[in-house]
Amino acid sequence: MPEQRQTIAALSHLLGAGEVSSRELVQASLDRIEEQDKELNAFITVTAEQALAAADAADLARANGTAGPLAGVPMAHKDIFCTAGVKTTCGSRMLENFVSPYDATVVERLADAGMVSVGKTNMDEFAMGSSSETSYFGAVKNPWDTARSPGGSSGGSAAAVAAGLVPMATGTDTGGSVRQPAALSGVTGFKPTYGRVSRYGIVAFASSLDQAGILALSAEDAALVTQVIAGFDERDSTCSPAEVPDYAAELDAPLKGKTIGIPKEYFDAGLDSACGDAVHAALEVFKQQGAKLRDVSLPNLSLAVPTYYVVCPAEASSNLSRYDGMRFGHRSEDAGDIESLFKNSRTEGFGDEVKRRIMTGTYVLSAGYYDAYYLQAQKVRQLISDDMQRCFDEVDIIAGPTTPTPAFKIGEKIDDPVQMYLNDIYTVSVNLAGLPGISIPCGSVNGLPAGLQLIGPHFAEARVLNFAHRYQMETDWHKQVAGGGQG
């Protein structure tokens, strides 16, 4: 039985050497889920039978010499990725019993690479939330302190990886939903450039911001998985046709002479001082490797959250119109005519945060308010994007904290949406600009993980992963395990 929390890279090596079978790995993963997930609630659906069958297929492929490096490694999908034949709930009563007839591109590509999905992870309803508390299937617990949230919306994926239930889980990042839970749960969370990974088969939340991402144990693992899922897909018009480079090839590149931009706005009064200290300490590590630090400015950062909370609900209000009880999803029993069928199905099927965003989004797109909100937000979005582009004229990468605080208590912010939204202050601008970003563990604050965020220019995934990997070669924060010790 392998130890808990081994990286994909390590497992791939063991599988390749014949020291362990995929069946053993997958069974171990299923056992750990069985043992720990009653408390964590990281999974909505566990697909033991399919997983073991896929593991056997991977073992056979290994034996036949036809397996790729990732074949047989267990993993999980955020329950926002459509999976043929397996429920895709998106954390909502609306889709409680929805079974997709097709696989998302990300699901398809990882399955083709032989990775074995053991199930679907819990999440904020329709990915709307920063705490994984808005799920219809109950809140996810943070393995570091089960009274706390693992962050969100990909909180189930983050918790599952942090607790060693799976070495990797997919996530989606619309305003920080991969990076923020990675920071709060002490794992590596990578969001590629908007358009780098196909959105086909991801239940849409805010189309111009949604991007598939990865929660893993290291930047190296993130690189291995990105290699598989990135690249053109004709089924998504916004997916880039740009060539996918070899991410592993650049992982080790030295950082000597590289410049890191430190936005002063990321270190203002809102930042917990211990989190700030952890980030400063991390920057010293880069300095020791010969990188230079330079102060930069993102003057419109304070506008990022308000802008995000106009653009994202606007798109969401329209994207979620298809849930009308007509063709799939929840359909109210209590409906006498078409009007009440629509109304009651949606009233019963959606939770409070989803309704809040649909209402906000409907409002900002309404006649008479469109210019003042939606159009204005688009202009500010451009300014925020321009600010970041300008930084990259001077520096190779931007670094700062991922979140203003470490993991907060479950229930602490759920009744104060604005406080909850402000948790995304350092992450949303990256989505508004469509840039690649990563969060890696960089310290401990009162026994809870702190996250360092690295942001690169468009399609500079290799550079972001390179910086993160070099940091992880020098430090072991990413190896820290909840409950103490290293895994």
């Binding site: 459509c82 799939f328 078409i338 797109l365």
Partner: protein
């Protein structure tokens, strides 16, 4: 008071693509309900629209044909509203930046004058599904086969001033889209339909009156009747001292009247915004040039060429250029017939009547252009008369076969042999002494009667010109 009418039309023209605007399902008409609804049509969670590139070329072609600007950059937007036949809860359309704008088309009016009508814009959008009420046991069914079918919505300026003019405009657009090969224009199947915006105002007033919108008019006849009814209704309201209410109305063909739609069906704030799932459509000069070079000859140019090349009458030109297929057929006949007017007369006349009678499209004509040319050449070289030719044509139509074979097997060849004709003429002169007398006394008209007698005696096979000649010679002496 004298009233003036202002009409603008929004024509919805289904583009003749094989698959839908943003998904792979077929657009073929008449399939079992919901058998042509792919995951994109059904708006399943996670699916995304991918633009069918063919429609861009089609829209650009239309834009060039109406001398419009084909936008170098146009944007798809979402029009949000809930309806059971609208699976996404929004329709993908174009709002602020349409693919075609600022064009015009020229109409020929009844008095022979021309009128240029502005076309504000033409934009791409997807059609909705259909609600089914028949055989549903009191329930409503939804058929999504049509949902997502590509439409070009063509919006005119409010520059049409009567129902007749509106129909004239609609016919021109109908002719044009079929010439361009971008739509089958089938009105029964709903591939070509329109909404009409109508208002009236006192003659001479600048300001427009309050308009109403008539929805879903799907035949030329209904457009004319509905608009006429609506004009009369509005004038009546105003003359009674009332006010026209701005509303959407439906035309009831059975009762020949329009009536207001229920309020909630139109009280929508559509919350248009650019669709983030789709990139802007960007067209460069090279693309436009390519479309321009591949343009077919348009009705107006064809009509001008027919006048110049064939010396035809306006009425014939209108008939022959009504559709590209008719024009192509005529040109195929004309290419092998020396007498172009004869060709025009036959295509517009005898052939047109036969097609009409059997309800056939010219592409399904039972007599091919080559066969018709074969027949016309026999008229031209005097093998048969025009009258006999009609008989031959009828045989060709009903039984098939070529003109020459029918003429031969039925012995219809014209008698041009002078010896044979002279004998008949002599007999006719002998049998009609009275008429011969009258002719000789100067009554020229009687000659016609005598020619007729000869024709009768030869069962129409005599060459009338020859008979004329012989008669004159014999009587004139």
């Amino acid at each position: 008071m004298e009233w003036e009418t202002v009409i603008g039309l929004e024509i919805h023209c289904q583009l003749a693509t094989k698959s839908k605007l943003f998904g792979g399902a077929s657009t073929a008409y008449g399939a079992e309900p919901n058998t042509q609804a792919c995951l994109v049509t059904l708006a399943y969670p996670g699916v995304l629209p991918v633009l069918n590139g063919e429609v861009v070329t089609m829209a650009a072609r239309f834009g060039l044909a109406i001398d419009a600007t084909v936008a170098p950059r146009s944007i798809f937007a979402r029009k949000n509203y809930f309806y059971p036949d609208l699976p996404k809860g929004y329709q993908i359309s174009q709002f602020e930046l349409p693919i075609v704008h600022d064009g015009h088309i020229t109409l020929m009016l009844d008095d022979g004058s021309e009128k240029c009508v502005g076309i504000t814009r033409a934009h791409l959008e997807e059609d909705a599904g259909k609600s089914l009420h028949e055989n549903m046991e009191g329930k409503t069914g939804i058929d999504l086969n049509r949902a997502g079918t590509p439409l070009l919505e063509i919006v005119s300026e409010p520059e049409l001033s009567s129902a007749r003019e509106a129909v004239n405009y609609m016919r021109r657009i109908h002719q044009l889209v079929r010439y361009l090969g971008i739509s089958d224009g089938n009105m029964q199947e709903g591939s070509f339909r329109c909404d009409a915006n109508i208002s009236v105002r006192p003659k001479g007033q600048q300001e427009l009156g309050t308009r109403t919108e008539l929805k879903n008019l799907n035949s030329f006849r209904f457009v004319e009747k509905a608009i006429d009814f609506e004009i009369e209704r509005q004038v009546e309201v105003l003359e009674d001292g009332g006010e026209v209410v701005q509303e959407t109305r439906l035309y009831d063909a059975e009762r020949d009247e329009t009536r207001a739609m229920r309020g909630k069906e139109e009280a929508n704030d559509y919350r248009y915004f650019p669709d983030p799932d789709l990139l802007p459509v960007e067209l460069d000069e090279g693309f436009i040039t390519g479309v321009r070079e591949a343009m077919p000859e348009l009705p107006r140019a064809k009509a001008e060429r027919f006048t110049a090349d064939y010396g035809l009458k306006q009425a014939d030109i209108d008939l022959l250029t009504a559709s590209r297929d008719t024009a192509d057929y005529f040109e195929a006949v004309a290419a092998s017939v020396e007498d172009k007017r004869l060709a025009a007369n036959w295509v517009a006349g005898e052939l047109g009547a036969a097609l009409n009678r059997d309800g056939l499209d010219i592409t399904a004509s039972k007599v091919s252009a080559a066969s018709l040319a074969g027949l016309l050449n026999r008229i031209h070289d005097n093998t048969i008369s025009g009258k006999i030719a009609k008989e031959v044509f009828a045989a060709m139509w009903d039984e098939g076969g070529e003109a020459d074979a029918i003429i031969e097997s039925r012995g219809l060849e014209q008698i041009t042999d002078s010896g044979e004709l002279e004998a008949t003429v002599d007999q006719v002169i002998a049998d009609n002494p009275e008429q011969v007398e009258q002719y000789r006394a100067g009554k020229e008209k009687v000659l016609g009667f005598l020619v007729g007698q000869v024709m009768k005696a030869t069962q129409g096979k005599a060459n009338p010109a020859k008979v004329n000649e012989i008669l004159r010679a014999k009587l004139g002496s």
